[in-house]
């Protein structure tokens, strides 16, 4: 009884605090995620004011946060969008994977963390944050821009790639033998492919079991199905996140639209708890040790993201300013970085991944949206004009020489 009372007090105070922090962040045009995570660091083990009674609740809440984040991600994309993007932007997606995953993997190997940690770190640095980036694009009024579909399609492909990456990682981190590991991976990838195929082909049938007009039953039904599938997926090492994502993709039409509206507030609540919880479980005392490596990693992989975006936009025929906008917008990492780090740490791969990923994500999430604004400055526009003029002069001189 006493414990539950304390749970109410702690969680209540925490949420109230988060709300105030969030307001502050939004006022300064920042994502509130860094503040949520910092709050977690302050109240966590080794922090200034460790929480006692509410860790169980927060732990479950964080798990639910992952499930909700992913099911919402799936709901936002229609199967046709996924297939369409896969066809049109596969090349950009592959470049994105290579340019951004390899630095993370190399980093882990250089630090001597071994191949499994390298696989995890590849994921940590690979995936940009759809949530943060979508918000930045909206805030900066860039949704109508011609390069925006390129940014979004990179995000879609990354999220889709996670549906295969996470099961592989979960199979590898439990440290099965090579053969056993290969079988687990094959099962995981196979089941994801089958579910994805069924979701794209027959998603409408699944949506039909729900009644889209009754908010209460729809909320419980969709949340129930998502948690059930997420749990089952986790049981067969496909990872709960992927299960939830697939449910989101499979639901379509009015059901998906209404479910999105109903789940959004729940997602906001539990996603905040998820970020707090990651902060809670990360010991702030470990951060100074990993700060500089994280900073270096952030600088390198933010640059590779810019390069990814620049090249993808160039291929799509976007002009020079738009290429920079694409690259700079893609820099922030977010939820997947934390999910992957959490997965690796809970399997005991390398404890330092948690503080490193936390610091790394904080750096990219705080600096990314600020840097993305560079392209709106007068200075940047001046540079672009100068570059265009140089190129024009160059083209002009070469044509005069050619004949």
């Amino acid at each position: 009884m006493h414990d539950e009372t304390w749970m109410l007090i702690e969680v209540g105070a925490l949420l109230l605090g988060l709300s105030l922090l969030g307001r502050l962040a939004i006022k300064f045009g920042q994502s509130p995620i860094p503040l949520y995570m910092t709050a977690g660091l302050v109240f966590g083990s080794g922090g200034i004011l460790p929480l006692q009674a509410s860790t169980d609740f927060l732990s479950s809440g964080a798990e639910l946060g992952v499930v909700l984040l992913l099911v919402m991600l799936g709901l936002e994309y229609s199967p046709t969008e996924l297939v369409g993007n896969l066809k049109s932007s596969a090349r950009a997606g592959i470049w994105d994977g290579l340019l951004n995953a390899i630095p993370g993997a190399v980093f882990a190997l250089v630090l001597g963390w071994g191949p499994i940690a390298a696989l995890a770190m590849a994921g940590v640095t690979w995936v940009s944050s759809s949530g943060v980036i979508a918000k930045v694009l909206r805030d900066l009024g860039r949704l109508g821009n011609r390069e925006t579909p390129i940014v979004l399609s990179v995000l879609v492909l990354e999220d889709l790639a996670m549906a295969f990456y996470l099961p592989i990682l979960s199979a590898v981190v439990i440290g099965a033998s090579l053969l056993q590991g290969a079988i687990t991976v094959a099962i995981a990838v196979g089941s994801v492919s089958v579910v994805l195929y069924l979701a794209v082909r027959h998603g409408k049938k699944l949506s039909r079991i729900f009644h889209s007009e009754q908010p209460e039953t729809l909320l419980m039904g969709v949340l129930g199905l998502t948690m059930l599938v997420a749990g089952l997926a986790s049981e067969v090492q496909v990872s709960a996140a992927v299960g939830a994502f697939l449910v989101g993709i499979a639901l379509s039409g009015q059901v998906a639209h209404n479910a999105e509206k109903l789940l959004a507030p729940l997602r906001d609540l539990f996603a905040a708890i998820f970020f707090v919880f990651f902060g809670l479980t990360t010991n702030p005392a470990d951060i100074p040790e990993v700060f500089f490596p994280a900073l270096i990693l952030a600088v390198v992989t933010m640059s590779t993201k810019v390069l990814t975006g620049y090249l993808a936009a160039k291929r799509a025929g976007i002009g020079r300013p738009g290429r920079w906008r694409t690259g700079l917008a893609l820099m922030p990492r977010g939820e997947f970085t934390v999910i992957i780090a959490g997965l690796a740490v809970s399997a005991g791969v390398q404890p330092l991944i948690a503080p490193l990923a936390a610091t790394y994500m904080l750096i990219t999430v705080i600096s990314g949206p600020v840097l993305a604004r560079i392209t709106d400055t007068a200075w940047f526009k001046q540079q672009m004009k100068a570059a265009a003029k140089r190129e024009g002069a160059l083209a002009g001189s070469s044509t005069s020489v050619a004949p």
Binding site: E76, Y77, E81, L82, G84, N85, S130, A134, G141, R142, L143, G144, N145, R146, E147, T148, P149, L152, S153, L155, V156, H257, I318, G319, P321, G322, R325, K381, M384, K385
Partner: protein, 164 residues
């Protein structure tokens, strides 16, 4: 004449339709999942970036499209021609001495006598789509009619009948 419209997915947000005008200008029409729309214009110096956009609610978008639609309907009708199906559209001016001036459209018996259909009347800035027989014809009305070549010629003569 076809209009170039491109559809581009904005995963997670909705779709953008890109309309390229004959003069080479681009108009972006963003349709968001929540039903609101935005109409955007592009920066001539940086054609990938929008210069600004106008947010429209569903109702406003519908009203705007109605407004543009009337004009578009008429230009589409006049484009019906090309003779492939033997139907033409013509805009006829009601002559100042026509005997149908200030009389209801029904009096012309245009459909019976010429086999043509009067699909709209343009009066100044107003458009009267599908006018009823009771519609009174006014000076300077522009009558939009669809019919065969012969029918339209007959209609032209019919309307030109001066007051007896």
């Amino acid at each position: 004449m076809g209009v170039r419209i491109e559809k581009i997915d904005l995963p997670g947000f909705g779709v953008r339709h890109d309309v390229v005008t004959q003069a080479g200008q681009h108009i972006g029409v963003l349709s968001f999942r929540d039903g609101h729309r935005e109409v955007a214009l592009y920066d001539p110096e940086d054609p990938d970036a929008i210069l600004g956009s106008v947010a429209l609610t569903g109702d406003e978008a519908a009203a705007l499209s109605d407004l543009l639609g009337h004009a578009a309907l008429l230009s589409q009708l006049s484009g019906l021609g090309s003779g492939t199906i033997g139907l033409f559209t013509e805009q006829l001016v009601l002559p100042a001495d026509s005997r149908f001036l200030d009389r209801p459209l029904g009096d012309t018996q245009a459909r019976t006598k010429t086999g043509t259909s009067i699909v709209a009347i343009l009066r100044g800035k107003d458009v009267i789509p599908s006018p009823t027989p009771a519609e009174i014809l006014r000076l300077d009305d522009l009558i939009v009619a669809v019919g065969t070549r012969e029918g339209l010629d007959k209609l032209d003569k019919l309307l030109a009948h001066s007051q007896v």
